[in-house]
């Protein structure tokens, strides 16, 4: 069993990087490995946006990440500074920034870049998408 940290830099829609990252995570956990966390950075923070409304016959990558996280107990971490700059806010961020609305799903935890650094330190392998 090996420990992976997976970094996602692509959004849920507009690139397929996030889709491949999810497939990779699913394959890794199916093979008995551990994904210690998925860190969303750069445009990857868009994956946490719970307001994604794809057509009914299209995949909902946001929801697939939530499902994966819950079934495999894998933390989903959003880089908070990358998220705030892109208008991706948790309820707490909305309060702190005096915004009346927020969009980041509660299954995604806002965290600092230290989460990525510590994840790299503790994982056997970093894989970025």
């Amino acid at each position: 069993m090996n420990k992976f940290i997976v970094q996602v830099n692509g959004p849920a829609y507009g690139s397929t990087a996030s889709f491949r990252a999810l497939k990779f995570c699913q394959a890794a956990t199916s093979a008995g490995h551990q994904v210690i966390k998925v860190f969303f950075y750069q445009d990857g923070v868009q994956n946490s946006n719970s307001l994604h409304c794809p057509a009914s016959d299209e995949i909902n990558l946001h929801q697939l990440w939530v499902d994966f996280s819950q079934s495999q107990q894998v933390p989903l971490i959003n880089c908070v500074s990358a998220a705030l700059r892109r208008g991706v806010l948790s309820e707490q961020d909305a309060i702190e920034n005096s915004k009346s609305q927020w969009n980041s799903a509660s299954e995604f935890t806002m965290g600092g870049l230290g989460e990525l650094v510590s994840g790299i330190e503790h994982a056997d392998r970093l894989v970025c998408f």
Partner: protein, 118 residues
């Protein structure tokens, strides 16, 4: 502690790749990881003097490059082939970087525990 090598390959200001990579580099260094930086391809343009990032709608994230040693980032490599391709002479650089052949960069990539490209 891990040896983390961070590679920059994009031109200044057209994207935010380098800015977000620098944020990661400085944070890694402050978390006492052993950080090395590599500038290649058009990212070597970050090393030129007299930049005014605000005129291009960007924060002046290049200003912090002069503080790399405060973060104990001692290894800053610039790809000679990239500089040559852009017609930049090493005397023109505002940042104290080692100008190196590709083989030196290959060795730095091989030596690191993890490599992140921005």
């Amino acid at each position: 502690m891990k040896k983390v090598c961070i590679v920059f390959r994009h031109s200044p200001y057209g994207t935010t790749h380098t800015r977000e990579g620098i944020d990661f580099a400085l944070l890694s260094a402050s978390f006492e990881q052993q950080v090395s930086l590599v500038f290649c391809d058009e990212a070597v343009l970050h090393l030129l003097p007299n930049q005014q990032a605000e005129l291009a709608g960007s924060k002046d994230y290049v200003a912090v490059f002069k503080a790399f040693d405060l973060y104990e980032i001692e290894t800053v490599l610039a790809c000679k082939a990239s500089l040559d391709a852009l017609g930049i002479d090493q005397n023109e650089l505002a940042i104290n970087a080692q100008i190196v052949e590709a083989a030196t960069i290959s060795a730095a990539l091989a030596d690191a525990d993890e490599v992140l490209v921005f």
